[in-house]
């Protein structure tokens, strides 16, 4: 049976906690002199990137190498894709080379889902970000960071984020990070509030398991973590907001605003940051900002995901607890084929 990680919404609470706990085990590897496990020796993973994303690609690559997998990097630029080869043909070409898993980044929402469900290939599919849809490993590494900071590295094991108040600020409309985080944080019991100008909130957000506010200041004071999303300057050309300056003033996080947050609260950012836009340099460089930690945690999370998808029958570490009996059941439930008589 095939197993994939396509959407954060596919994870149950137990799946998610298992991934976070496994990532803690993986993080210990990073503290060793030799940061390498033999777990995926002989397995081949391709990083299939149709969109530029150096940091995500490097993070997956580091995770794969630490698990001893054979890694193939495929960048669409300068490849046959730019000559008109289809996603299907590219995927089948890679599969013919004996790939066990495909980590895919694609500009089109749903491309990883298509890859996993169209019968084109048999390999496991891990979504590394698709269009404005999902970025599940980002949500997992964010949740991992929050659990460490807000619950505790050791006390957090086996636990979720019940009752934690998380605020996500910025371009929700175009953000796969926001969508994935809302889904996962809700599953983990957190209370999520989205803050953005109304133009950057999607129509239909009312069905999401979160609150929406247009006012940052009133939300900050009751937040345990504030996640700032990147806002592309080009958005103002499409009239999403009038000017960069006005955006920063109303929705940017500066030191003055950060001071209103509870003392324990952290500032997060998925990167890359646009300093001076959604976040000031002072905030970005402060102790409360977890940006660098998130990057480190990303490797642990991706190791955990790949390990559980591909090699989960053996213990990850020789000293670790017994093999996990339960794998994250990340296969998507088949969508309804008919909706007219519901």
């Amino acid at each position: 049976m095939q197993r994939h990680l396509i959407s954060a919404a596919d994870l149950t609470r137990d799946d998610a906690v298992l991934i976070l706990d496994t990532a803690e085990e993986m993080a210990r590897v990073a503290d060793r002199p030799i940061k390498k496990l033999p777990t995926l020796r002989g397995r081949t993973i391709v990083n299939l990137f149709f969109e530029d994303s150096t940091r995500t690609r490097i993070s997956f690559e580091a995770a794969e190498k630490r698990l001893s997998a054979d890694v193939i990097n495929f960048s669409a630029k300068g490849s046959s894709v730019s000559k008109g080869e289809s996603l299907k043909d590219t995927a089948q070409t890679l599969e013919a080379m004996g790939v066990d898993a495909v980590v895919i980044r694609h500009g089109a929402s749903g491309a990883p889902y298509r890859l996993a469900t169209s019968g084109w290939i048999d390999a496991a599919v891990v979504n590394a970000g698709d269009g404005t849809h999902q970025h599940p490993t980002q949500a997992l590494l964010d949740a991992f960071t929050m659990r460490r900071r807000l619950v505790g590295r050791d006390t957090g094991l086996g636990r979720d984020l019940s009752g934690r108040r998380i605020t996500i600020v910025g371009d929700v409309l175009h953000s796969r990070v926001a969508r994935s985080n809302v889904d996962l944080l809700h599953t983990l019991g957190a209370e999520v509030t989205l803050v953005a100008p109304p133009t950057l909130v999607p129509v239909g957000v009312g069905n999401w398991p979160c609150e929406v506010s247009y006012d940052l200041d009133s939300t900050l004071v009751k937040s345990d973590a504030v996640m700032m999303l990147r806002v592309q300057r080009e958005r103002m050309n499409a009239a999403f907001f009038p000017t960069e300056r006005e955006y920063s003033r109303r929705y940017g996080l500066d030191a003055e605003r950060m001071a209103k947050m509870p003392g324990h609260a952290i500032v997060m950012h998925p990167g890359p940051m646009v300093r001076g836009m959604e976040i000031t340099a002072e905030v970005a460089d402060s102790d409360r900002c977890t940006v660098v930690e998130q990057v480190a945690n990303g490797v642990s999370i991706r190791m955990a995901v790949l390990y559980l998808l591909l090699g989960g029958n053996e213990p990850a570490l020789s000293h670790a607890r017994q093999p996990v009996a339960h794998h994250p059941a990340t296969e998507r439930v088949a969508p309804p084929t008919g909706s007219e008589e519901k």
Partner: protein, 428 residues
């Protein structure tokens, strides 16, 4: 020419009668007609309707013969019970000159499966800037009366006004593809709950409704008639209802797929559900059915849009928009309108034959099933239940959203001016 006796058919779903075809004409209708040497078609239990008329078909020829040709498209039409189709203008080259429309018209006549009435482009190259030679297309052998830039909206209000006015001189009608272009930049599916979740660009209902509102007011102002293509939202229904109550000469069509399918299906990211206008919500589907039943929406039109396999076997954003529909339209209408009690078979004949023929001025089609009328007829086994198998389609393309779905009804016979184009479900 030969004679055919259709025995015991429920004419428009009524009491069983015999219908005698002599040459291209219906010679007699009544109970217990003698065979008198005619070929007999036993039709007990089946429903006889006037041949269906589709005001919105894409035949793709000239230019995209890899997806459909006039021949394969008209064979698909005959399979679906159609005796006349209106071929949309977005071909390559665009049907914006007398030469192109005459070619398409002649191909339809030569093949003989179904009358093909070309639709002329409103503007040169469908670019929305300069009126095409509408009069020349009307005066050509094709006798064009319906004009549309379908696929694109005539969004410039002045061009739309002029087109509405200009075609009055020869009784033409402009069929508007209502889509405000700025509101639908990057649009991939209906904007709402599902698009928010899937991260696909939204196609908001207001982009359709605002154009319809503008165009009915323009039609009122200049005293023209206007036709709305593939109306898809509950709000559009309200605007058309209001316009009709005001006496504005507006007609509207709905596609079979908008009567049955919703945007929930897009969760599969399967591009077979990608269509323009997009699949909407349950609420819209019900509003469209009610509007078709009460006559606010005048007709069913297929928007039959064939695409080659590779244009759908890809990621959603890269896929072409559109679905084939000629061979499943009547079944979908039976399921959504007849089996639900919203419309009887006489109503189906009105919405799928009589009214579309009137709107498009297709003489000889959409006529009563009575003596002296042209023998354009379709016989339907309404008790049939079966799963849709695209492998059996006459169309060159297979991009149906109904593959594997059980639908009621099956067209068994189609006659075009007395000549059988479909016999026992097989093309002649």
């Amino acid at each position: 020419m030969s004679k055919t006796l259709i025995r015991g058919a429920k004419v428009l779903g009524g009491e069983p009668q015999d219908v005698l075809i002599d040459g291209g004409t219906i010679a007699a209708v009544g109970p217990g007609l003698g065979a008198d040497g005619a070929e007999v078609v036993e039709a007990a239990g089946q429903v006889l309707l006037p041949g269906l008329v589709d005001l919105h078909t894409h035949l793709r020829e000239p230019g995209r013969e890899d997806s459909e040709t006039v021949l394969t498209g008209t064979r698909a039409a005959a399979s679906g019970g159609y005796t006349a189709v209106f071929a949309m203008a977005n071909t390559f080259p665009v049907a914006d000159t007398a030469g192109v429309v005459e070619q398409v018209y002649r191909l339809g006549r030569e093949h003989g499966y179904c009358d093909v009435q070309p639709i002329g482009a409103v503007t040169v190259g469908l670019e929305g800037r300069k009126l095409a030679e509408l009069g020349a297309m009307h005066e050509s052998a094709a006798g064009v009366t319906v004009f549309s830039d379908d696929g694109k909206c005539v969004d410039d209000a002045v061009i739309m006004r002029r087109a509405l006015e200009y075609v009055k001189a020869f009784g033409g009608v402009v069929a508007q593809h209502a889509q405000e272009p700025r509101l639908t930049e990057g649009a991939q599916m209906n904007e709402g709950v599902v698009s928010a979740e899937l991260g696909l660009g939204g196609w908001p209902a207001v982009a359709e409704e605002s154009i319809i509102a503008r165009d009915v007011l323009l039609a009122e102002h200049v005293g023209s008639r206007v036709h709305i293509c593939h109306l898809s939202t509950a709000g559009s229904v309200e605007i058309v209802r209001w316009a009709k109550s005001r006496g504005i000469d507006v007609t509207a069509e709905v596609t079979p797929h908008h009567l049955l399918l919703t945007d929930e299906l897009v969760r599969s990211y399967n591009p077979v559900y990608k269509v323009n206008p997009p699949l909407r919500t349950e609420r819209d589907v019900h509003a469209l059915r009610e509007a078709l039943a009460d006559g606010t929406i005048d007709i069913v039109a297929t928007d039959h849009a064939p695409h080659p396999h590779e244009d759908k076997d890809c990621e959603w954003a890269a896929a072409a928009m559109g679905m084939v529909g000629l061979e499943t339209a009547l079944s979908v209408v039976q399921q959504t309108m007849v089996d639900t009690g919203l419309l009887d078979w006489a109503g189906v004949a009105d919405r799928m034959s009589v009214r579309p023929a009137q709107i498009g001025r297709a003489t000889g089609h959409g006529r009563p099933v009575s003596a002296g009328e042209p023998a354009n007829l379709v016989l339907v086994d309404t008790a049939y239940r079966g799963r849709v198998d695209p492998a059996g389609f006459a169309s060159r393309s297979r991009n149906t959203p109904y593959e594997g779905r059980e639908l009621p009804g099956r067209v068994t016979h189609t006659w075009l001016r007395g000549k059988a184009t479909l016999v026992d479900g097989k093309l002649t």
